[in-house]
Amino acid sequence: DTAVSQTPKYLVTQMGNDKSIKCEQNLGHDTMYWYKQDSKKFLKIMFSYNNKELIINETVPNRFSPKSPDKAHLNLHINSLELGDSAVYFCATSRGVNGNTIYFGEGSWLTVV
């Protein structure tokens, strides 16, 4: 029973398309995140939600729009995809916002061609 599951695992799409990545957690945590890991393996926070409210948006282009329909879900929608968006996107959760242990999903490999 996967604690943090995200779909799809792999996504290849053309520039200019719009795509979504879905994330669900069954840990009962209040806080969910999207992290981006680029080709240099640098893991960087994009967004953080606590109890469905956006609390952190780290200078991400507004083509990226997270949506949290409930505490257990945090989806990421990306409009007008660009080549530079190719990366691995990790959904993650924690009990609270104060730097608690983070539980990551398996990642979604996005390739924009």
Binding site: F42, L43, I45, I55, S94, V97, T101, I102, F104, E106
Partner: protein, 112 residues
Amino acid sequence: SQKIEQNSEALNIQEGKTATLTCNYTNYSPAYLQWYRQDPGRGPVFLLLIRENEKEKRKERLKVTFDTTLKQSLFHITASQPADSATYLCALVPSGNTPLVFGKGTRLSVIA
């Protein structure tokens, strides 16, 4: 500027030896620091957390130290095994209600 640096991108070590990985930080005052393991094609997995008032933390063959004067954490794996081969990431909380910030990681290869 604020930085988290892990000493080397890659580290090769012979099976049975102790692997030591370094994490240095600049212009942060973290209350605690965490270490994660990431295998190829997987998400990072939490290993250990050490608080600023703790000098050392152990878990089985793992040991972490935290020196707030040197602004450094060391991560040791004793009696290393090929199965320990992975990328190890250090992470800290910059301040207050902020999420973890990660270093780039060190890719450890344990050679049989």
